[in-house]
Amino acid sequence: MSETIDIESEYVTRVEGHGNIVVNVADGDVETCEWNVVESPRFFESMLVDRDYTEAHHVTARICAICSISHTTASLKATEAALGIGLSAQDEHLRKLALYGETLQSHVLHLGYLALPDLVGKQSVLPLLDSHEEEVETVVRLHRLGNDLTEAIAGRSVHAQRHLPGGFSKLPEEDELDALRDRLESAWGDVEAVADLLLELSEELPEFERETEFISLTHPDEYAFYDGTLYSSDTGELDVSDYRDIVNEAVVEGSTAKFTAHNRDSYMVGALARFNNNAAQLGPMATAVADRFGLESVCHNPYLNNVAQLVEIAHLIEASITEIDALLAGGLDPQSEYHTPEVDVTAGSGIGAVEVPRGVLFHDYTYDEGGEITDANCVIPTNQNHANIQSDMEALVPTILDRSEDEIELTLEMLVRAYDPCISCSTHYLDVEFVGE
């Protein structure tokens, strides 16, 4: 048993952005146990002020590349709500497809490239090229499928080119969608293969449970990503318009990211929160994947967010096929080249809430009568998880003090990585520091 432990892991690796874990144990007492976000502040909410309604989604895509389509989508929804801009059913299907493609890409990247190495005792995916060549090829194929899906709709997988307030500047070709549908159909084998591997390794995921609150969107007709009302596992349905009171953002010393709390000291967002709140609406394949792992709602082990991501990978494939079928059922309605949706600019405020890879994302803008932003607020999923990561660490550390410092550090890093934090989002973070004496 380690009587004295000093962990100071600066810049936790294999996460998007920068964060530090600091643990200090003296004579068996935990003196420090902190999760600090140390990303350089980005100041996007200020940079949005005075920007035109045609620019906001372009600027906010640059908050984070790995969920750039997500930020673009939330941004456009906020702008459209503020200015009263409608969206056709076809454009809504296309928005969903681009969002599903990005979430698929992001989940595969996290699970295959960032989390998997921990489970096989490696430092990165590179050694797996020798030890697990076929599995890595499978992961790459799924990753590319997500990217290609987004690219067909958005023009590019990183920083969309075609998304506009009220629609798209250019439509995909029908045969592109047909070809993607075929690839989605044939991706089941790849999902099964990844499930086989993860199942084989699942005993490496620590058994740790701590009851917490799960917050996500929920929708009466589908497993919510693009739209819905808010739902808390503690308090039930909530209004999106009350989001500021629900997230209660606060600045915490040591972190450039803001922390949040609703009904308890912390809450969790992301794949596991969505699964816990909306599992009954998953497609049959996704449900089958969940059953293989025995994943049931409500699950309180944050490490199983990795499994929830795999379940969502299956769901996103099913849901993307559904969207493509809806688009192709009557053929795509054509639009002019270089399409620019007509917009009547009026002053107003609007909120865009979207489920994105790491949880529920809010953009909230106020526009003046000239169509320029006077006030902007963005609440990022990763920020909503910071307080929950902190609470998990406080509960977990005292139970693992009998392990070596290296083991403790790995267990804590795996915890942070399980949340798939995207600290580039307006703030970055992840470093384990065992404080030196």
Partner: protein
Amino acid sequence: MTDRPRVAFFDFTGCEGDQLQVVNLEERLFDLLEVVEVVSFREAMSEHSDDYEIAFIEGSVATAHDEKRLVRIRENADMVVALGSCAAFGGINAIRNDQDFETVKERVYGDDADMIEANSEARPIESVVEVDATIPGCPIDREEFVQVVTGLIRGVEPTLPNHPVCVECKLEENECAFHRDEICLGPVTRGGCGADCVGEGTHCWGCRGMVDTPSEDAYTAVLEAHGLDAEEIVEEYQLYWGWQRPQRATQGQAQ
């Protein structure tokens, strides 16, 4: 340079989209690993070494800590490459350079603004260290990245095109955005992207940075036809040039 150069990736203040574009090479990334050895890439691997020849830097410099870290990297590397527009010329981060910094902090952090440590401006890495090569773009183009890397390995001096995006737009036979009553930064933006955003149905946002000297290198014909000049478009419509634009003004005064 050794046969299989040791390369490292570092992220500063940015969205990490340029490193993601490297990952998005998918299978080809593994081909690239045949010719370079990646010794540090925090976003994707826990291994780290300070023994590298080429350092790829993504993101702009926004804090005093960023500056110190960048100087250390420069000391370790034979060659420093600015990866993407934030590293190359400040990029979208530099929008805030035109805003009062106290106001910027207050808007985002309210009463806690004093807790936030950051420089008042977002700057490109060349404002701190010498840069050997630049791959602009938001995000970088995957093909351009592969070309630059293979060039560096073979000892080819990297060059950047200095023609405006308009030239490529004409080659692509796109309809001019100005003819569609849109403002487009193509006449004053450095080409090399194949006018991709215009091809996707919108206009050029200026993400590859200004041509070297807008007043001389701009595609002025299209601007004149629409009653604009290069100065006006640079001053009024830029998103990405919060660092570049005042630099250009300073240089102009020096001349």
